[in-house]
Amino acid sequence: MSDDAIFEKLSQCAVDVLQVPPDKVVKEARFSDDLDADSLDLVELVMALEEAFGISVDESELDGIETVGEAYDLVKSKL
């Protein structure tokens, strides 16, 4: 899967779960400040990413993930 395709898929998950406009989902966007996501939103987003990419993400791996770009790097590392 190309980098663009990975990002596209991740972005779609964020749009669906967080109900934000697609143009707000950029790598620099912070989940809490820019995308208005609380901790339960992120739990649901991780579920959606696991489902979409067929990966498994441990709770401990989410420490320090604050931006869309960091989530992208995490997903990419598991493919």
Binding site: L18, Q19, V20, D36, L40, V43, E44, M47, E50, E51
Partner: protein, 403 residues
């Protein structure tokens, strides 16, 4: 409404004005459409709310994080709020003096069923972290208080099909006592699903042919309905001081239990009788003052018979005109009493009692003056609304034209 009884008699509370109406029902969304629907033709089958778009009332994320029963509650509450605020632009109330009691029978059943499916198909790790806050029965009342920023009590009363009536009564009592200056009282329900149809059907509670025929000789059971009703209730002086339109007043309410059987009404209708008598006394009235009864009138053989005996006992024969709006709305369970309270308020506004749709053939065992065919003019005065729930819960409200 009374706040208590001392040695010197009942302690009267503040007068409780109804200043805003909101309704989501199968026969119309909003008070105007709902009233037209009550005077219109009956549908057959389950009475689903049509043409409701949650995004007309909620943001996209808010809609995704709430079950349908909360969508209905928010829509009805926002309508009622906007209606009450329309004359002066705001309700002019401190957040801590405003509260919400939106009841329900089930809660977020649709969410629950969906998450059970996900659990079974995909496993525990895919169950939504939002399942609990979406399905809990208090989710609707919580969502309304959060939306309005009201920090007074936000509660619900879960008494099955009496819940909407009990919700309005509880909210009204808090206004009468002075705890709140403004409250929203109501009920919401969205629990029509193949599973509930099967369960109510196996109880033999449902109509054989999808027709709701309250008090009619051919009645065979109720038809499921859904929706929400909400009233803005306000200290009458507060309402007057901000120039609000006062539709009517909540003048009395009561709650009793049959303590007899979980689904069948007591054959002597004792709980229903005492509930009506207490509500009328709470309003400082006598039975002869009541000019309209909006019956529970579900269209089940047992309910309608027991309720008619209770009405006969309290009011004599033939008693005041009786209508059951469930001929049109079906039985919206925990929302029913709230939707019917809106119907009474509109009946006061329009000086018309809506007919009991589906009623054509008299049952010789039921000696009531049933309003049917077309709406009947009345001189708006005092009306009583009955609601009776599985568990033997009885709730009555007295709603009066304001004087």
């Amino acid at each position: 409404m009374h706040l208590g009884i001392t040695e010197s008699g009942p302690v009267k509370g503040r007068r409780v004005a109804i200043t805003g109406l909101g309704v989501v029902s199968c026969c119309g969304i909003g008070a105007g459409a709902f009233w037209e629907g009550l005077l219109g033709d009956q549908q057959q089958g389950e009475r689903l709310v049509r043409d409701f778009n949650p995004l007309d009332w909620l943001g996209p994320k808010e809609a995704r994080r709430l079950d349908k029963f909360a969508h209905y509650a928010i829509a009805a509450s926002q309508m009622a709020f906007d209606d009450a605020a329309s004359s002066s632009g705001s309700l002019d109330v401190a957040p801590e003096k405003a509260g919400v009691v939106i009841s329900t029978g089930f809660g977020g059943l649709e969410t629950f069923l969906e998450q059970v499916r996900i659990f079974n198909e995909k496993g525990a790790k895919r169950v939504s972290p939002f399942m609990i806050p979406m399905l809990m029965a208090n989710a609707a009342t919580a969502s309304v208080s959060m939306r309005l920023g009201w920090t007074g009590p936000s509660e619900n009363v879960v008494t099955a099909c009496a819940a909407g009536t009990h919700g309005i009564a509880a909210a009204a009592r808090m206004v009468a006592s002075g705890r709140l200056d403004v409250a929203i009282g109501g009920g919401s329900e969205a629990s029509i699903a193949p599973l509930t149809v099967a369960a109510f059907g196996n109880m033999t509670a449902l109509s054989d042919d999808g027709m709701s025929r309250p008090f009619d000789k051919r009645r065979s059971g109720f038809v499921l309905g859904e929706g929400a009703g909400a009233l803005v209730l306000e200290d009458l002086d507060h309402a007057h001081s901000r120039g609000a339109h006062v539709y009517a007043e909540i003048t009395g309410a009561a709650s009793t239990a049959d303590a007899y059987h979980v689904t069948q009404p007591a054959p002597d209708a004792r709980g229903a009788i005492s509930c009506m008598e207490l509500a009328i006394a709470d309003a400082g009235l006598t039975a002869s003052d009541i000019g309209q009864i909006n019956a529970h009138g579900t269209s089940t053989p047992l309910n309608d018979l027991a309720e008619s005996l209770a009405i006969h006992q309290v009011f004599g024969s033939p008693g005041p005109p009786v209508t059951s709006t469930k001929g049109i709305t079906g039985h919206a369970l925990g929302a029913a009493g709230a939707i019917e309270a809106v119907a009474i308020v509109l009946s006061i506004e329009k000086s018309l009692i809506p007919p009991t749709a589906g009623y054509e053939i008299e049952d010789s065992g039921i000696a009531l003056d049933v309003v049917y065919g077309t709406a009947r003019p009345w001189n708006p005065g005092h009306a009583i609304s009955n609601s009776f729930g599985f568990g033997g819960h009885n709730g009555c409200l007295v709603i009066s034209a304001t004087s």
